[in-house]
Symmetry: C2
């Protein structure tokens, strides 16, 4: 049977072997949820940037640019880091440049993987189905919060481990712990996560609707994948 | 109300503020359990060493020396890293030098704390009682396994967070997750942990009795504390 393991922070990813594996990068609030939502609503490709200036420069190449700092859309940018915004119209034909801190770091530190997927609750089932069609071990790479463990990414990890238990063995301690946590809290995710530090930060920014999307299962039937050059596309 | 938080690995401890806090260092299988058992059975002080040669040199100063590599007592050492061994006779009047890898690292990386305690299940209640008498925030520092999250240290963290919920708020994501995990698995710890990677390693070494002690609550009514110069004593 294939294996599944969890890494809770980009600061611990050097302890894991990535080669030959599918790495699922997770930044539930909100980077990976926004990416998956954008790809589901017409965005043809996404490039991610750690710094806002490199991101801004993509405007001259015809990209829409998206990003926030301290919860506010960066001045001159087309969009923030909100999945809701991408539901408001059809973005077919557009390309997107996004700047996020935790999410971009996790993607760039996953480059040795055989495949990198973008994980979010709204496309959980599609991601599971894709993974089960491959014959590869899985590593869930939680973006965390400034290097620390965070609750929402970890709970997603638990959901994925639980959903893959028929094909992927969780001998890894982190995978076992998160599977058990998801078994306990999965039926009341929003209530449980409302205590999470990041959810509290987001509530202060008045984006409850974003949180709803971030925690809703199977809105979209696409898989987000990172291709060479850190370009994200749907498959 | 005071705060409680969890750090899952010495490799993440730089992300946490230690000053003014009680840091509880945890290495359930088996370093901190052995330390607490030794202090309960007469050992007057314990010094810890990352390397075996520095530890061995303490023999000339009259210390008993204890340590294992790959699950076997180091050649020429008086004891291994087994709590059971310290239950077999009264060690009153003896001092101990111990070499452990994960545990020593976690202690040495906790030096900025206001107080460092040694956490283990056999003295959980005594540790709780001591903490509740102080007016300080708490950080649980899991030694982990070669830098990674491990199940037994994390479950102890959950037990401590749960036990302190009347006095210490768990706003930290790691503390919340582990409290919930302990609520689910705490009544069947041995069964749950038998799947853990480290427990499997220990089973291969035929030390089931050690595991029993490591997971038994409140055998000892002492608190293990680290004093200047990394000397452990009971209080």
């Amino acid at each position: 049977m294939r294996q599944i393991e969890v890494c809770f922070s980009p600061e611990l990813i050097h302890l894991h072997e990535l080669q030959g594996k599918i790495v699922v990068v997770v930044d539930i609030f909100r980077a990976t949820t926004t990416m998956v939502t954008a790809l589901s609503n017409g965005i043809e490709e996404i490039r991610t940037f750690a710094d806002k200036e490199s991101c801004r420069e993509m405007q001259s190449q015809g990209y829409l640019v998206a990003g926030e700092r301290n919860g506010k859309t960066i001045e001159g940018f087309d969009l923030g880091n909100s999945p809701v915004a991408f539901l408001k119209k059809d973005y077919s034909g557009n390309k997107l440049a996004m700047t996020t801190t935790n999410g971009t770091l996790a993607i760039s530190k996953s480059q040795e993987a055989d495949e990198i997927l973008i994980g979010a609750f709204p496309n959980l089932s599609a991601t599971i189905q894709y993974i089960q069609q491959q014959d590869k071990d899985v590593l869930i790479h939680c973006a965390g919060w400034k290097g620390k463990f965070n609750l929402e990414d970890s709970l997603y990890a638990g959901a994925l481990v639980k959903s893959l238990e028929s094909t992927h063995l969780s001998e890894d301690d982190g995978a076992m712990a998160m599977k058990s946590l998801f078994e306990k809290e999965g039926h009341q995710m929003k209530q449980f996560l409302s205590q999470a530090s990041h959810a509290k930060r987001l509530q202060n920014h008045g984006i409850e609707h974003d949180i709803d999307i971030c925690l809703t299962l199977d809105l979209f039937n696409i898989v987000g994948k990172v291709f060479k050059g850190q370009i994200l596309k749907k498959i």
